[in-house]
Symmetry: C2
């Protein structure tokens, strides 16, 4: 189905005219409703629940996102974009490279912790959901690579870790967050991880 799209890249409207005002507003509401719903109930939150929280009908949800998967995909894409923004900020600020990188991870982890169930929902989502967010993923990876390179060149970070290790580590951290409930001390876990990256 999604393989037979007319043209243009996967996500947003391609050459469509701009959305009507109410539609634009609803799209935001839906995304917000979805975040809330998945945060509260995990991936098994139903589309009706998303609609309810967004204050719209299910039909409207489907008008904006053809499937539940597409909705999740958009959430993933946005999350990655936010993380990239953080990374870019970190690159500009400068400072002791390892510390900058560590702080970035801490910030991103905190971001994830705020709605661990949503995180879990996104991780549990199938390949297809992530495939849609490939470009955003690549970008984040690139930025991470640059940040790590700096730290490695100053000798404060192990030379045998690469940017691709980070998603793994964070992925593990997220899994941990959701499996032990909200009171869990993921911060200590993160520090453990950071220690393992230090030279």
């Amino acid at each position: 189905m999604s393989l037979t799209q007319p043209a243009g890249e996967a996500g947003e409207q391609v050459d469509e005219r701009p959305l009507r005002a109410d539609a634009r507003r609803n799209r935001e509401r839906i995304l917000q409703g979805a975040r809330e719903a998945f945060s509260a109930l995990g991936a098994e939150a139903q589309m009706d629940e998303v609609a309810r929280r967004a204050g719209v009908g299910v039909g409207t949800v489907y008008r904006h996102f053809p499937t539940k998967e597409a909705l999740l995909s958009e959430l993933v894409r946005q999350k990655l974009t936010t993380m990239s923004a953080n990374a870019r900020l970190a690159l500009e600020v400068g400072g002791e490279p390892f510390g900058v990188f560590a702080d970035l991870l801490r910030r991103n982890a905190a971001l994830a912790a705020r709605d661990a169930a949503l995180q879990h929902a996104m991780l549990g989502a199938g390949e297809r959901v992530w495939a849609q967010a490939r470009p955003e993923e690549e970008e984040l990876l690139g930025l991470t690579d640059e940040l790590m390179g700096r730290a490695q060149r100053t000798g404060t970070m192990r030379a045998d870790v690469s940017a691709t290790d980070i998603p793994m580590l964070m992925c593990g951290l997220c899994a941990t967050m959701t499996h032990t409930g909200p009171g869990f001390d993921w911060q200590r876990h993160l520090e453990l991880i950071l220690d393992s990256l230090r030279a």
Copy 2:
């Protein structure tokens, strides 16, 4: 439903007479079929699929395990038991404590890697599934604690990590295994983790 059980602990038959020969055989087949099904398809493998692989009818599956959850629970319980057995072995063998512990983790990780999707299915399962396996979990935790204590007393392991950290770490490792496909090099990730435990 499961809260109104007559008496006795949650899992096995309590004071029932021994299973008939064919039933005992089928129970094993079902468990095996479930392992295969969940390994191949993840938690969304259907009961019919489990039955098919076990070579029995669905009805038979339900005769042995009242719900899908109960079936998953039993798999979790068995996995934990196996890990405990490994831990007990490690305790008896003796040798340099950190090395013994590290090898145990490596072995258990390898065990998990063999059927990462099953692992993922178990992790993704709800609280209730794990609640059933509490005793087995406690036991494994106790053994882990003993092993780590030894390493810490010889000064080869950080003093500020505890046995409860290990499930978190392994949980992260498992999540990683399934999110990056079968070809992923989880071994390097594990070594990273081990490094972070070293004193």
